[in-house]
């Protein structure tokens, strides 16, 4: 199997999970209601756990250990999509990001549960069950707030328009796309994107939100090749603040 292709896939998935998990965890103690504090920190835990599982596969493929990979790289060595690194802003943006990202993630892990690369297929099979709760949570809230008050609908609409270009960045084409497809490791970003669009349309149609035409949205690419916004490095500095006091120490 094409190791480089597999590694590229694993890195971008793991980095996504770690960075978005980090962002989600920033809601702990600040949610609009306790239930949401708990929901976001649950999802944060899941995501960080998923990233660890993926970094562990990378480690088995000869990369460094998960702590070193996660806590010592700089922003330009991260492959997460830019959507995940943007600040939480208000709850409406966090919710929309969660909806757009987790819809894609759930589909991706579903696809990967049939991967020919067994270690990934095993993790994906497990993860996809957990993600049901994430997408259920996202869908319920988007449907609720996307059809409630003028303010809630207005806020979600604004955040949706803001987030969509970044969301399309999730599917930034990979140089290994054809290898992955050929070896039945992953059906590819293009196939995922199409499934994702359908799902998003389906949920948004049940709200009073308006989805712009896909062809009018310019995808924000770059994250997959280490081109990030000014928000990522401070996040990483914070994440490694204690770890870097003494990277050789055991904490």
């Amino acid at each position: 199997m094409n190791q480089e292709a597999i590694k590229e896939l694993l890195y971008k998935m793991a980095d996504d999970q770690l960075i978005l998990g980090h962002r989600n965890s920033e809601w702990t103690g600040f949610g609009p209601l306790l239930e949401e504090d708990i929901a976001f920190s649950s999802m944060a835990q899941d995501k960080v756990g998923h990233s660890l599982a993926l970094y562990t596969i990378l480690n088995d493929l000869g990369e460094q250990d998960p702590d070193t990979i996660a806590f010592t790289r700089n922003a330009d060595q991260f492959h997460n999509t830019v959507l995940t690194e943007l600040p939480n802003a208000e709850y409406d943006f966090s919710l929309i990001r969660h909806f757009l990202y987790d819809t894609a993630e759930a589909l991706r892990f579903e696809m990967l549960s049939h991967s020919s690369f067994e270690p990934l297929a095993l993790v994906a099979t497990k993860v996809r069950g957990e993600l049901r709760y994430h997408t259920m949570h996202a869908n319920t809230w988007v449907k609720q707030l996307g059809a409630a008050t003028e303010e809630s609908i207005g806020r979600l609409q604004q955040s949706l328009e803001l987030a969509l270009p970044y969301a399309l960045g999730i599917f930034e084409p990979s140089p290994y796309e054809s290898d992955l497809i050929k070896e039945a490791i992953f059906e590819g970003e293009k196939a995922l994107e199409e499934k994702w669009k359908k799902k998003v349309e389906e949920v948004i149609a049940q709200t009073q939100l308006h989805l712009p035409k896909w062809e009018t949205i310019a995808p924000h690419y770059g994250g997959r090749t280490g081109k990030h916004t000014e928000y990522l490095q401070p996040l990483l500095d914070e994440m490694s603040e204690v770890f870097k006091i003494d990277p050789t120490a055991e904490w």
């Binding site: 980090h22 965890s25 920033e26 702990t28 103690g29 600040f30 949610g31 609009p32 209601l33 306790l34 239930e35 949401e36 504090d37 708990i38 920190s41 649950s42 944060a44 835990q45 960080v48 756990g49 660890l52 998960p66 702590d67 996660a70 806590f71 208000e90 709850y91 319920t140 809230w141 449907k143 609720q144 707030l145 059809a147 409630a148 008050t149 303010e151 809630s152 806020r155 996040l235 914070e238 994440m239 603040e241 204690v242 770890f243 006091i245 003494d246 120490a249 055991e250 904490w251």
Partner: protein, 328 residues
């Protein structure tokens, strides 16, 4: 987590006179027999009032208590710690959720309780008004503040009010997991580099006085405490709880090679009680009345969160789905 430094409202002498003496006697007999009082059972007004106050303070302590540790989730060193701390802090918020709902069974809504928290009418455990400067402060809380909370909660779980006791049973099981996690974190600091050891020693020096405050001042034995203890609302004196905590944890702290910043701290082998420098109760009062290092910050965070979340809660009042609404 939760401390015994909670304040019980002074009991006015006429508060019991309005109660039906037969019902009251029956109520007290049930408690005496070890039965639990359930939400729809008859209970004296005073019992209801004091319980609401206590459970509410406990719930507030859980969610405010999540803040000083919560700020370290994004900085926790390594996956293992990060995931465990996330889980722990989430547990604490979850405890808050369960406890608010236990208090609601007595007739006060969560919204009213949160309002009273923000406007300063109701209190939370004093210890969370101190700052967490380093990772070691966070470890101190996870281990020792949680240890103190367990001492209290295990006692309270034997109380008389059913919903509170049941919530506490499950909460205690989770707290003991927190304790294990916290203890591990400190063991790693203790057996680590000099920097790591110093970090924890400094944290211990900072946190010891508030830890001694945690259980509250010596109870004056009064009619109030007697009634509350008879009704199994209050389950032990503050001094007893403090003593139990010292008994269990001072040896463990010493074992790790740390020094407790109180030259007078020792166990009197004759009485079996710990002796220590009398904590500064003036400071305790000052902090509980709002003048501690972090009181304003903690409440401000809560206030801003409430403020920023208002539109969400309003949108939920036009319900299409039930499950996203707050409990009861």
């Amino acid at each position: 987590m939760y401390g015994g430094g909670n304040t019980f409202e002074g009991i006015k002498s006429d508060e019991l006179t309005g109660e039906d003496p037969i019902k009251l006697a029956e109520f007290e007999a049930r408690i005496e027999r070890g039965e639990k009082i359930e939400p729809s059972d008859w209970m004296p007004k005073l019992y209801r009032k004091q319980l609401i106050r206590m459970i509410e303070q406990h719930a507030h302590s859980e969610i405010i208590g999540a803040l000083p540790e919560g700020t370290w989730i994004t900085r926790a060193p390594g996956f293992k710690r990060k995931m465990a701390l996330m889980a722990k802090v989430q547990d604490e918020v979850g405890h808050g959720q369960l406890l608010y709902s236990a208090a609601e069974t007595l007739g006060k809504s969560r919204e009213e309780m949160i309002d009273d928290l923000i406007n300063g009418k109701s209190k939370y455990s004093n210890i969370f008004n101190y700052p967490t400067f380093t990772w070691a402060d966070c470890c101190f809380i996870s281990w020792l503040v949680d240890a103190g909370a367990i001492v209290n909660q295990l006692a309270n779980a034997k109380g008389s009010y059913g919903p509170y006791c049941r919530a506490l049973d499950r909460i205690c099981a989770e707290e003991s997991f927190h304790l294990k996690y916290g203890h591990h974190c400190v063991i790693y600091l203790a057996s680590g580099t000099q920097t790591q050891r110093d970090m924890f020693q400094e944290a211990l020096n900072r946190w010891w006085p508030p830890m001694m405050h945690f259980f509250g001042p010596s109870d004056k034995i009064s009619v109030h405490t007697e009634i509350l203890m008879k009704w199994k609302v209050k389950m032990g004196t503050n001094d007893d709880m403090r003593n139990q905590f010292l008994d269990m944890y001072v040896p463990k702290i010493w074992e790790l090679g740390f020094t407790i910043p109180d030259p007078n701290l020792k166990k009197n082998t004759e009485t079996g009680r710990w002796e220590y420098t009398e904590p500064d109760w003036e400071e305790f009062k000052r902090v509980i009345n709002g003048d501690g290092p972090c009181n304003k910050e903690r409440l401000e965070v809560r206030r801003i969160a409430e403020e920023r979340g208002r539109w969400v809660r309003e949108a939920l009042r036009t319900p299409k789905t039930a499950y996203v609404t707050p409990l009861a």
